[in-house]
């Protein structure tokens, strides 16, 4: 008694799992599934193997199945026995029938023991095919080479079987003159080779894609790093150096802020191509030059015209911004550019001290020439609203024909 107990304990502790026949998902007796679990293969492969052995090697598969059914214990299962999937069973039977019919038609099944290589080659190919099936192996993303390495034994087994199939082909070619048999073996060998190569090729492709994506990501990261380094860190260093000058500090901070904002929120625009981009650029330049924040709002956009009408409007708007920044003493300037159909309007407004328009001396070029005169020469108009203490607003309008 004591001896038996130790034996039982030993067998319970051993690392090998005992083969069982699971009740759930079985088609016939659960033998194929049990075997599949044991060999870490797909049950479909085992089932096809049994079918193939039965058809090709004169019922060997069926015999093996029956023996295994008898010697393998049933896996304990709670509740009523689950239904068999009859449609699958029918499918496997159909495959068996088809194979049998094929063998009978081609005369291959009369080959007897000579057909063994064919069966082995087929089984080898099946095992490899199961490894290669990407749908079934979702986890197999890291590339086929890894999976090949992981399942070295199975890969080897598959290759050996295919090689035996190939050897059988050579033997059969010597013995049997019928070309169709050799053709069949050729198909098996080529199929096996294709199956071996397929996962490798697929893995190569996947790795290539992965690498490409990684490279794009790295380029993006490098761009961000360059942005942070070249401008943000640079500005922070400059700010520390001029910490004694609050005006300069705020100018630096402001220009850095604008740069980051453009980078984050503005689509890349060619400042020489469209009105909104040009207005933003001019405002940024004057803001930098004079240290007064200029808020720009643009509605609609239009391509700059070759005739230079918009160019003149932009120059006038720049002059208005310069005036506001230099003389108004306003804490900030608002610029609003609007494109409505063919009409372009730009407003430059400050909340500064304003001035008496009548009192501006005739020789002051800023307003009369650079703004009003320029606009009128190009067929546009400029209006200036100002009063001492009320701030100033310059309104520029220009009509252009849309391209």
């Amino acid at each position: 008694m004591a001896d038996q107990k130790t034996l039982a304990e030993q067998s319970g502790d051993r690392p090998y799992r005992r083969m069982m026949r699971p009740q759930e998902g079985r088609l016939l007796g659960g033998v194929a599934q049990g075997l599949a679990t044991q060999l870490k293969l797909d049950p479909v492969v085992i089932r096809l193997m049994f079918v193939l052995l039965t058809v090709v090697v004169q019922g060997a598969g069926a015999v093996a199945y029956a023996v295994l059914w008898m010697v393998t214990p049933r896996q304990p299962y709670e509740g009523p026995p689950p239904q068999r999937d009859w449609s699958q069973l029918a499918a496997f039977s159909a495959i068996g029938m088809a194979l049998f019919a094929f063998g009978w038609l081609t005369g291959a099944s009369q080959g007897g023991i000579g057909m063994l290589p064919f069966a082995m080659g087929g089984i080898g190919a099946l095992i490899l095919w199961q490894q290669a099936d990407p749908e079934r192996r979702k986890t197999w993303v890291s590339g086929a080479s890894l999976s090949m390495r992981k399942n070295r034994v199975r890969t080897l087994l598959g290759i050996v079987l295919v090689v035996i199939g190939g050897a059988g082909f050579l033997a059969a070619e010597g013995e049997l003159p019928q070309i169709r048999d050799s053709l069949m073996f050729t198909v098996v060998v080529v199929g096996g080779l294709a199956v071996i190569a397929a996962p490798w090729l697929a893995g190569l492709w996947k790795e290539l894609q992965l690498e490409r994506r990684e490279r794009i990501r790295q380029e993006e990261r490098a761009e961000v790093a360059a942005m942070v380094h070249d401008s943000v860190l640079h500005t922070l260093t400059l700010i520390q150096r001029v910490a004694h000058d609050p005006r300069e500090v705020s100018r630096l901070a402001r220009s850095q802020e604008r740069e980051l904002r453009n980078w984050l929120y503005q689509p890349a625009q060619d400042a020489d191509a469209t009105l909104a981009a040009a207005v933003r650029r001019i405002a940024a330049e004057e803001e930098d030059a004079h240290g007064v924040p200029i808020e720009v709002v643009c509605v609609g956009d239009i391509d700059l015209d070759p005739a230079g009408k918009l160019g003149a409007t932009l120059k006038a708007s720049r002059q208005a911004m310069v005036n506001a920044a230099k003389y108004s003493e306003s804490p900030s300037i608002s610029v609003y550019a609007e494109v409505e159909g063919e009409e372009v309007t730009i407003f430059v407004k400050d909340r500064g001290k304003g001035f008496d328009l009548e009192a501006v001396p005739l020789d002051r070029m800023g307003i009369r020439e650079s703004i009003i005169g320029r606009m009128e020469r190009h067929g546009g108009a400029a209006r200036i609203r100002t009063e001492p203490g009320e701030g100033t607003e310059v309104m520029l309008t220009m009509k252009v024909e849309k391209a």
């Binding site: 984050l264 929120y265 709002v297 643009c298 608002s334 609003y336 609007e338 407003f347 407004k349 909340r351």
Partner: protein, 210 residues
């Protein structure tokens, strides 16, 4: 006394706003992410929530969705560093009654909070520009003409806001009362929130940096 709750994930910014707000405003609490914000709003029931747009846990839009979705009447003023049309239109359509950027002065912010507390809307020049742009770019036929287009007067008001006019200046310019200006802005806000024109969102997305 207007009771305000500040929701922002930057501690420095919260204390900065606290210090800047005038005496007419009482800060009843602070929150730093979506979870704490939803809890603090339920607990304090403030008049106005100053809401940051970008925050851990889903951002301002998530706070709006959860608080307004539960039937709360709390009013939100979005306060953000972002200029992205998507963010601006996003929080407004999410239910915020205004949008100002973080570089707003303390006095302007106090004004904006008071206005939102009184049930009016607050549009920054940039938001006004976005709205004009969004409603102008209409090629597809509108579904609800009342909601899907701006009246001439509303357009005028928005243009003046975009030009940098204060409400008082707009009233003077158009010979109307400040109250009427506020009514127009609130009406634009309502259209912005209720119009189910698909262009609004599409326009905002298209403005995003690709």
């Amino acid at each position: 006394m207007t009771r305000v709750l500040i929701v922002d994930d930057h501690r420095l910014f919260r204390s900065g706003v606290r210090a800047e707000l005038g005496d007419s405003i009482e800060v009843v609490g602070e929150a730093e992410d979506v979870e704490t914000a939803v809890r603090a709003i339920a607990e304090h029931q403030p008049d106005v929530v100053l809401l940051d747009v970008h925050m851990p846990g889903g951002g301002g839009q998530e706070v709006l969705r959860r608080v307004l979705g539960s039937g709360s009447q709390v009013r939100f003023l979005a306060l953000s560093v972002s200029d992205a049309a998507e963010d601006v239109i996003g929080v407004i359509r999410g239910g915020a009654r205004g949008y100002v950027t973080k570089n707003i002065s303390g006095k302007e912010l106090t004004d904006a909070i008071r206005r939102v507390a009184e049930g009016d809307a607050v549009f920054s020049p940039r938001l006004a520009g976005f709205v004009l742009d969004a409603f102008a770019s209409s090629e597809a036929p509108s579904i609800d003409p009342e909601l899907d287009s701006l009246t001439q007067r509303e357009r005028e008001v928005l243009r003046l806001i975009a030009r940098g006019y204060a409400y008082k200046e707009i009233a003077k310019e158009l010979f109307i009362s400040v109250k009427t200006v506020e009514t127009h802005v609130s009406s634009v806000l309502r259209k912005l929130q209720l119009s189910n024109r698909h262009e609004l969102s599409r326009w905002a997305t298209a403005r995003r940096l690709v």
